[in-house]
Amino acid sequence: MDNIFTGLEEDAHQEETGRRSWFKRRKKGILTTTAEKKETPEGLWNKCPECNFISTTSDLKEALFVCAKCNYHHRIGSDEYFDIIFDEQVFTEMFDDIRSVDMLHFTDLKSYQKRLDDIHSKTDLKDSMRVATGNVNGEGLVVACMDFEFIGGSLGSVMGEKFSRAVDYCIANKLPFMVISKSGGARMMESAFSLMQMAKTSGKLSQLADAQLPYFSLLTDPTFGGISASFGMLGDLNFAEPGALIGFAGPRVIKETIKKDLPPGFQRSEFLIEHGFLDFILDRKDLKNKLSQLITLFRN
């Protein structure tokens, strides 16, 4: 049974050079201000991993990090999504006062604590999920967004807790909730605690449902394992960006199990909608307007 496992977390720890988000975050230093951090360096060229189309970083940013030629949606993080969604790029980040800690003293090739310290020293991210609230074309919304560069966007205790507090905030303020998923699955270094976040978040969604507040699940490339097997697939509406890889088990595990090549397009958004698991596929440029439209429809 050596090759049999669920593959819940397969992608979380893979270095996927081709599809890895190139938009790297830098730690805020004494010399770099927040404003500077967000400025894109001029003259930087980027190649689309799908069609090799070359564009400047500023052009790409202008196009919401979508390839002008082939519509490939580059992987982006919470900073970019919050900017895209919220009016005038104004929002309030919430529940950013907690961070992960290596309570189990988990050590693989390096210790979990070392892993956390390394990321904390390299980026401003405190964990794999950030929560913010603001207006979308004037409509209030709470958004919880994953950052893949933080241990593959993995689901750990901090994500579970931020998710829970976000739901409480939605209920207290009668606001709709959206989660933007981008994750390899559960965080193995938190062992069973990470698994239990799937039940913890479902419990909160149950309360959100009782409060009759809408929950939107936006699945982006990639979303796997513990996320798709919990709140990722539990949206009142589930939608995804085009071409996003979404599934329960990772493609490598499935290939090893069935010992066959996987069909083209397998586990892409278009495959999921064909099999009945998505309400619609959404281009990033339409995200903001679609959201305000949905909020209005659910409320009126």
Binding site: M1, L109, S206, G225, A229, F248, T257, I258, G276
Partner: protein, 335 residues
């Protein structure tokens, strides 16, 4: 239950096998030498078998505990049903796609009360192992489980789930039919069930495949079982990029019943016969039944509403983090 010489022994159980062989030899001697009474020697050896079973299980590594949970003679769900209940009626199919043989369920009589029993079933022979797909259910298995839970809820019958899986099946058709969605739906619905729910890890408890039938008022673990986010093999292959680190992964994952009880992630450890459930099916079932009945009685005291709130609260408390020292929080919270 297999008797010697049909018993199977794990590597660390070899000293027990040696004792069985000594008994066999002594019996042969006794046949040859009718004048000498060997009965005390044999009974001595028999009691040292029990001592050895105890001694061995007292000092098990986490990996050995995993091995015990997969012992080829270990009882599976149907065995417990046979020993604990009467009038079991198996109900098949998810009413949508198929009947998943890896996930079974049905009503039975437990101590005079009708209960719904649901869980993964494994096979003992090669043929049955394949039929049961090694206890790895597909979406239709989880949907069958949910159908039966709703049936139990409709008729106000308690639900008892038996978890024994190396994970949900990672296959092509599983993805086509929404393995993730099926598990997610079960977790969400189980937390809202109006009837009492008891979940028991009776063997392997791996990841979402286990949690998909693992949300209840009480979660119990049998002594020689494990429960965590991924199998040690899977963890080894992903984090160590090698299949050879499964022992280390088992240690690091802290997946034993003692660890899990210590973390407060399960409510109670169910004792097993000395040396493991595979030594005595009747005793194993009796010990389990006793714990189930006690727990059932307690959770029935609450109203459905209180039970659901307690369930949400219980899982809501799970997790660990630290507060970021205020000096490290940037002054500007929004950008």
């Amino acid at each position: 239950m297999p008797q010697y010489p049909n018993r199977q022994f794990l590597d660390f159980e070899q000293p027990i096998k040696d004792l069985y062989e000594q008994i066999e030899q002594t019996k042969k001697l006794a046949e040859k030498n009718q004048k000498i009474d060997y009965s005390s020697t044999i009974s001595q050896l028999e009691s040292s078998i029990v001592d050895k079973r105890k001694e061995i299980t007292e000092h098990l590594t986490p990996w050995q505990r995993v091995q015990l949970s997969r012992h080829p003679d270990r009882p599976y769900m149907l065995k417990y049903i046979e020993k604990m209940t009467t009038n079991f009626i198996e109900c098949h199919g998810d009413r949508n796609f198929a009947d998943d043989k890896a996930m079974i369920g049905g009503f039975a009589d437990l101590d005079g009360e009708t209960v719904m029993l649901i869980g993964q079933q494994k096979g003992h022979t090669t043929k049955m192992r394949q039929l049961r797909n090694f206890g790895m259910a597909k979406p239709e298995g989880y949907r069958k489980a949910l159908r039966l839970m709703r049936l139990a809820e409709k008729f106000d019958k308690p639900i008892i789930t038996f978890i024994d899986t190396p994970g949900a099946y990672p296959g092509l058709e599983g993805e086509e039919r929404g393995q993730g969605e099926a598990i997610a739906r079960n977790i969400f619905e189980m937390i809202r069930l109006k009837v009492p729910v008891i979940c028991i890890i009776i063997g392997e408890g791996a990841s979402g495949g286990a949690l998909g039938i693992g949300v209840g008022d009480r979660v119990l673990m049998m002594e020689n079982t494990w429960y965590t986010v991924i199998s040690p093999e899977g963890c080894s292959s992903i984090l160590w990029r090698s299949v050879d680190k499964k022992e280390t992964a088992a240690e690091q994952l802290k997946l034993t019943s003692i660890d899990m009880k210590g973390f407060g992630l399960v409510d109670e450890i169910v004792p097993e016969p000395i040396g493991g459930a595979h030594w005595d099916y009747v005793e194993a079932a009796e010990l389990l039944k006793k714990v189930i009945l006690t727990n059932l009685k307690e959770i029935k005291k609450h109203s459905p509403k209180v039970r659901i709130n307690k369930r949400i609260e219980k899982f809501g408390k799970m997790g660990f983090w630290e507060a970021i020292p205020t000096t490290e929080i940037p002054a500007i919270a929004s950008e």
